[in-house]
């Protein structure tokens, strides 16, 4: 069976086409709370990253997260902990994504190699202002 694919447009947030970035609308769910967020598809990022407030909006409790995560670069100055949530893109099947839940709020939701790029293949067509997300294989609900 051919993998399913969905195309999305780069987003410039009103700053003009030179500032366009691949932001992906993605639904994150934890227990019974769901948040629709715009997440930056960042192939240079080793991990997925979640800002503090988004985790709180999902009902996550900081003190209950027990796996510390050491981030690098501009994110290194604040503590982060592992948080696994369900994620849904358009009509694709839900997958589990592990995030480094950071204490920072001045950051976007970031989708990185672990484990967004393990669950989906991505092609960027920057010259055309679009990118495509491919299901690696049709999945049952996890």
């Amino acid at each position: 069976m051919k993998p399913r694919v969905k195309q999305f447009s780069f987003v410039d947030h009103g700053q003009g086409p030179a500032a366009s970035l691949p932001y992906l609308p993605i639904e994150l769910t934890l227990t019974n709370r769901t948040q629709l967020v715009e997440a930056l598809v960042d192939s240079g990022s080793a991990v997925n990253v979640l800002p503090y407030d988004v985790g709180l909006q999902l009902g996550a409790i900081w003190e209950q997260q027990t796996i510390p995560v050491q981030l690098t670069g501009n994110l290194a100055r604040e503590e982060a902990r592992a948080l696994v949530v369900s994620a849904k893109i358009a009509e694709f099947a839900s997958v589990k994504l592990a995030f480094a839940w950071s204490k920072l709020n001045t950051i976007p939701v970031i989708l990185g190699q672990v484990n967004f790029f393990m669950e989906f293949d991505v092609c960027f067509f920057r010259s055309r202002g679009v990118f495509r997300i491919f299901e690696i294989e049709p999945k049952k609900e996890r």
């Binding site: 030179a18 080793a46 690098t72 670069g73 995030f99 190699q113």
Partner: protein, 72 residues
């Protein structure tokens, strides 16, 4: 002055000045590209949040996935 007139002069430049010339030409091309030059030249900040080479972080998250860690 045409490229044909410039070329013999350029060939006589020392290596360091040839590299400077390349940089000068690149900067000129960027300036001529109005949209990119305007975007880059407006005293903007370009925050980079990408956690590069966060190998330990990646391993921690893989462990969390394998353990099925989530808030009850």
């Amino acid at each position: 002055m045409s490229l044909a007139e410039l070329e013999p002069v350029v060939r006589t430049l020392p290596r360091a000045e040839k590299l400077q010339l390349v940089r000068l030409l690149v900067n000129e091309l960027v300036r001529e590209d109005d949209e990119v030059a305007r975007f880059m030249g407006e005293n903007r900040e370009f925050p980079v949040w990408t956690p590069l080479e966060a190998v330990d972080a990646a391993q921690s998250l893989m462990q969390a996935l394998e353990a099925g860690q989530s808030v009850a």
